[in-house]
């Protein structure tokens, strides 16, 4: 065999790898695994339960009822003139998708250490499968949202879906990217510093209060004009405000704020993927 052929290797394993070598070709080869992992998550979720996928409904439904009672009636926080349950459910549905993606991605390394310690496959497949799995849950919750919209439309409540609804797929992608990016950054760091896993579950709760889930952005602007940037530059705020504007006709955003959100999201995702890619090679020694 001649020398040129001798030097052709299919796999090279070296100590250092470039930050940008994402091996997307490998990810594509393993796309069937992504589907099977999504299926596994879905099937194992409702195995040996009586209500099965109905559980997806129950959580947002009860949360909405409680928010309507506490924040809507007891604390009388304004809802931009929208029917309170609709206002809260819109926020909860969008927020849940982001929070679920974030929380589950942030434990990818620690939760799958057993699997990752034994077999090689592009680790990126697992966070991607989480984002897709959560999509099923999100779809069920959206169905609940549409149902509630229908009920209120029949009752003759005031809300006006408009052309901004068309931005919905874009918003969905933004939420997935943001959850994925933040989750991957945290997951890469928890392999060494476990403190973060304690921090993250209540940090998500606190983050929700910095996002316009239980109050509209207009109320913050009116009451705390000096601190409203804290809420406004939180990327999830613009996403939820546009979401509400599209489906219900009320929401405060500008094209500029949406553009800033998009840029922040893309940056977070890039950083997340790079850190994740870096850590996946040796995390098994320190996890």
């Amino acid at each position: 065999m001649d020398n040129i052929l001798q030097e052709e290797w299919d796999i090279e394993i070296t100590a250092k790898k470039s930050w940008f070598d994402l091996n997307l070709k490998d990810v594509w080869h393993y796309r069937d695994l992504l589907g099977l992992l999504v299926r596994r998550d879905f099937v194992s979720f409702y195995k040996q339960t009586i209500l099965g996928p109905l559980w997806f409904f129950i959580q947002p439904l009860f949360t909405t009822i409680i928010y309507t009672f506490i924040f809507g009636n007891l604390a009388a926080i304004p809802t931009d003139g929208l029917p309170q349950p609709l206002f809260y459910l819109a926020g909860i549905t969008a927020w849940n998708y982001f929070a679920d993606c974030f929380l589950k991605t942030s434990t990818v390394f620690t939760a799958n250490a057993g699997l990752f310690g034994k077999v090689y496959f592009p680790r990126l497949i697992v966070p991607l499968s989480i984002v897709v799995s959560n999509l099923i849950r999100f779809a069920v919750q959206m169905a609940l949202f549409f149902l509630l919209m229908g009920i209120y439309a029949v009752k003759g409540a005031h809300f006006h879906p408009n052309a901004y609804v068309l931005l919905f797929p874009f918003l969905l992608v933004l939420m997935a990217m943001l959850g994925l990016g933040l989750g991957m950054i945290i997951s890469a760091m928890t392999t060494k510093y476990r403190d973060l896993s304690f921090l993250i579950s209540f940090a998500i709760q606190l983050m929700m209060y910095l996002t316009t889930v239980i109050y509209p952005l207009s109320a913050v602007k009116a009451k705390y004009p000096r601190y409203e940037w804290l809420v406004e530059y939180n990327p999830m705020t613009s996403i939820i405000e546009v979401f509400r504007y599209g489906f219900l006709g009320q929401g405060t955003f500008t094209m500029l704020s949406l553009a800033i959100t998009t840029v922040i999201t893309i940056l977070i995702l890039l950083v997340g993927v790079m850190i994740f890619n870096r850590v996946e090679r040796t995390f098994i020694d320190t996890v």
């Binding site: 065999m1 290797w9 796999i11 394993i13 695994l33 589907g35 099937v43 194992s44 020694d285």
Partner: protein, 249 residues
């Protein structure tokens, strides 16, 4: 014959003791050393890998400057004491962890069985687990479908194929898991002490399969075993040799 695996100056260092306390300061120190272009202060050279002796340093070199080549169709057994670095070598070859220095070059696809049944989900049926496990090991869905009958046949658990694997006996579980792994299409197979499973009949079947893989199909097999009987049964050539110091390749 052409070399299908070429290992050059491969080393792997591990941190001893508890990892966690002081990791941030250590990480900063290492980072600072790297920025200045100095050698990593935590990878002192000259430590030897001997689990029985207490050492000054917190770092152990599981593998140190390993060099070897494996040719196509070889069945190579790796033997050594506990803690000699056998599994570390296989882990690097299977890309589960990266080496500290050096490189490995491989021609063809690697199927590594560091454990069988990796990724099996107890709630899923035997059938669903064959697909899931196959995909984790790198098979495409169409490929698994094509071999499905063969896998079920080899495992001998056809009657239970639609039952969740949590209801399986441990022997049946292992049979199914090995059956999936044995049907991977790859040029190189890496096996780590997994053959000590199943009943006598199944062990014989596995050894026969391994012998076929390297003998008839011309694939390369690398495996670790603490004892020699299995090695002498399926290897044509034992390639393991003690390296410099007390390291075992």
């Amino acid at each position: 014959m052409a070399a299908v695996i070429k290992v050059e100056n491969l080393s792997k260092a591990y941190q001893l003791g508890e990892i966690g306390t002081g990791t941030i300061s250590r990480d900063l120190e290492r980072y600072w050393a790297r920025v200045r272009g100095k050698e990593d202060p935590f990878l002192k050279i000259g430590e030897i890998n001997n689990r029985a002796v207490k050492s000054e340093s917190d770092v152990v070199w599981s593998l140190k400057d390993i060099n070897f080549e494996i040719e196509q169709g070889d069945a190579v057994g790796i033997i050594g004491r506990n803690g000699a670095g056998k599994s570390t070598l296989l882990k690097i070859l299977s890309r589960v962890t990266a080496p500290t220095t050096g490189s490995v070059k491989v021609k063809g696809r690697i199927a590594s069985l560091l454990e069988i049944g990796t990724g099996f989900h107890p709630e899923l049926s035997g059938r669903e687990n064959i697909y899931l496990n196959g995909a984790i090991l790198g098979m495409r869905k169409a490929e698994i479908k094509r071999k499905f009958e063969e896998i079920v046949d080899f495992s001998g658990v056809e009657r239970y194929i639609d039952t969740p694997v949590k209801r399986y006996s441990s022997g049946m579980y292992v049979r199914l898991a090995f059956a999936v792994s044995a049907h991977l299409e790859s040029e190189i197979m890496i096996v780590d002490e997994v053959l000590a499973v199943g009943d006598a009949e199944f062990q014989k079947k596995c050894l026969g399969k391994m012998g076929d893989v390297s003998g008839k199909e011309g694939r390369t097999v690398l495996f670790v075993s603490p004892g020699t009987p299995i090695i002498t049964r399926i290897s044509r050539k034992i390639n393991a040799r003690p390296n410099t110091g007390s390291h075992t390749a």
